[in-house]
Structures are given as C-alpha cells and as structure tokens.
Symmetry: C2
C-alpha cells in the first residue's frame, strides 16, 4: 500500500505557513502574509518538477527544487535571499522535512500497517520523508523517495519501480492519494486506487489538476475510515 504524502498524509500548506510566519517575523517582514508566502512557495512546486518530468532537466531531489523556489519566492515578496544567512535559509527549507500529519494520519497508517505493507511513494526525497516520519511518528515499513527511481509522479517508472522493489505485481499494490492525477497514473500502471478526500487541503500546486475523476476502487474521508473499509 503506497501513499502519496504531500497533501494526502501531511498538511504541507499549513505547516509551511506556520514556519514561514516565524521566519518572516524574525526578518522584520511580518507585513508579508505567511499564508500567501506559503501559497507562492508551494505554487512554484509543480512547474519546477515539470522540467524534470519533461526531460528538460536531469533529476534533482526535491530539497534542491524547494530551495530554488524559496529564493525565487523571497524575491517576489521583495526580500533578498543573499541577505539571509544561509543556515537560516536551509532551516526554512527544512520545513518540508517537518510537515505535520493530518489528525487521522498516524492512527490510520498504523491500523493499515497491521494488514498491509505501508510505504510513502512521494516526490519528496528519501531523507525528507525519513525526517518527516521520525518527526511525526509515521510508522512506515519502508520509505520510497523520488530519488530512488529518480523520477517524479506521474511518470510511470515511479509506480512500477515501487512495485518491483516491493516484489508485487501492480494489481497487488494500491496507491492512496488525495489527487486525481496521481491515482490516474497509478491506475494506468495497473495499481489499485484509493481516493482520500482532503477537502480542507488547499493545494496551490495542483489547482489546475483537480478534475474530480472517479471510478477509484475505494474512497474514504480519511485514513482511519480507509482502514475500517479495508478491515
């Protein structure tokens, strides 16, 4: 059972807004709205990953893309990245390693772990996901970052390599996600699909991709409900 993470298991926008808020205060920039700053930072995500998906750029881990986007974002809000000590920029970038789970995530994953192998399958790099798991108490059986397949979702090799490493045919695997584009790609690779409704997950990086497809094998309002359905 593979899980999308950003938006599905953790609240990226809320977590980043909280860390951006204290960063902006420390740098005399509390006039900048932290929520708008987080939206802008997360909003650059898709375009930067797209360059790798399209082969216009060799694979680089998300930590690096996030740092580039952070610098772009600071400039957009009138700040000068080079004026910020680099350990402080690094620390803000590590906000992605500390994204907070939705309230049901730890319990839901724990219950699903009793019956299934549970592993994140994320655009995040492995270290980002390891730090997040330790920080949040997410009890994954193993972790599959984008740097393992050196590809970003929805590239098919992400899903197929994950199945290969876990020693399962795709139809014996399932992707759990809150994003249609991700589930659709997994389904095209032969995986089963479970849609989790994160109606409160305002997700600026995927605004254009919300098509509300359906036909997923399972649909649940959160991960605890999904565990109950699959019991």
């Amino acid at each position: 059972m593979f899980f999308d993470v950003l938006g599905t298991v953790v609240d990226w926008r809320g977590s980043i807004a909280a860390e951006a808020s204290s960063f902006l205060k420390r740098h005399d920039a509390s006039h900048i709205d932290a929520g708008a700053f987080a939206d802008a930072w997360v909003g650059h995500y898709d375009a930067s990953v797209e360059a790798v998906r399209r082969g216009r750029r060799p694979f680089v881990p998300l930590d690096l893309l996030n740092m580039e986007n952070l610098e772009t974002c600071l400039k957009e809000f009138g700040l000068t990245p080079s004026a910020v000590p680099s350990p402080e920029l690094e620390d803000l970038n590590l906000a992605w390693h500390r994204l907070k789970p939705w309230p049901d995530s730890v319990e839901g994953v724990s219950r699903l772990k009793e019956r299934f192998i549970v592993a994140p399958l994320s655009d995040g790099n492995t270290r980002l996901l390891v730090d997040m798991a330790k920080h949040a108490g997410l009890p994954w059986d193993t972790i599959l970052g984008a740097d393992i397949s050196e590809a970003y979702k929805p590239m098919p090799q992400v899903y197929l390599r994950a199945c290969e490493l876990l020693g399962v045919e795709p139809d014996r695997a399932m992707l759990v996600a809150a994003h249609d584009y991700d589930l659709d790609a997994a389904r095209q690779c032969g995986l089963k699909t479970a849609y989790v409704v994160r109606s409160n997950a305002h997700d600026p990086s995927k605004a254009a991709a919300v098509k509300r497809l359906d036909g997923w094998e399972y649909m649940a309002s959160d991960l605890i409900e999904l565990a109950a359905i699959l019991k």
Copy 2:
C-alpha cells in the same frame, strides 16, 4: 547508521536450519542433517553474488540467487527439485524473509533509533528486508535493499548510494557489521565503522573472509552494548 543484516542483526544459519529441518521431514528426507543442508545453501551464497560483483552477470535480486542455490543444494543432497511442488520450494526460499534476530537486535536497534536514523544496508532485496522487519519487529526508519543500488557489498556504490539517499556525507554515516570485509569497504568509502562481535555466528558464506582486522571506530559485543557506547 547503516546495518549489515545477514549474520549481524539476524541469525541466518540457525533460522534456515530450523525451516530446512521441517521441510526435510515433510519430504521423507529426515536422514539429511538440516544444519549441514543450511551450511551448504548459505555456503553457495558468496559465489553466486560474486558473479554479479565481477560483472559476469547483470544484477538479480537475492531471492532469485537463493532459489537457484536451493535447487543446486537439493541436488547435492540427492533430492530432485522438480519433484517438489513449486509453492513448497517458494515457501522454503522465503525462510530468508523470516530470519530471526539475535536476542539483542530489536532492543539494540530501538535504542539506537532514539538518536540516529537506522537503516539496514544489506545484500537482501527490499521486500526480503521488509518482510523480515515486520516478522521480527525490527523498527527500521527505512530499508535499503541491494536492489536499490543494484549492487552487492562490498561494491562501493552500495555504501555511496546509501549515503546519497540519506543525504549525508560518508563521514557522517556509520556501518555496523560483524564482517571485516564489509566494514573495510565502508571505511574505504569514508564511512565510520562499528564492529559487532557475533562470535556465535557460524557463517559458512564468509569463512574465507575472516581476517580479524581491527582499527574500527567502535567495537561492541552486541547492539545493546553499542547503543550504550554511543549514548
């Protein structure tokens, strides 16, 4: 903190002998000594992995090498692999997914996990290690099977790829192992080293490689002692 697994964290020879014993009884072959059978099976390990190390054969996962060696072994002991129903052969081969930890392993890894990222770095494939962890309760933060780097120890890319995926310079990583050849290769890649004395680990696959090198950064009689040393 990376851990060799086969011999260091789990007792492969003892675990395989136990499963071979019940297999041999079920197949009217209880005249065959299960310990000798396990020695022979594990004894083929190094030569089969060596073909991949030397580039004479493309990478294949350990599950496949183990199955080939199992069939060889059955013939050596006068049995006919094709006479055994293939689900039973598969099940015996999965004994490697159920190897039992040494008595200190789960507690030692749990204590080390409080301060460090803990991950197996093994010739075993990822699924083998995931099954083993679930079966034995080994609380790894993530799992790095040989199929991730598509290389076998002591090939340097195994250690270097592990450091890259965990986002650490080699000198900020450590290998914990009961085998000198493994520690020596890790040291050559720049990792720190901790030697765990598994004096009771009769290890037919590595009989020729025991050189009793020293100069490792740390040495402990088991993983609980190692956790105490690194406290």
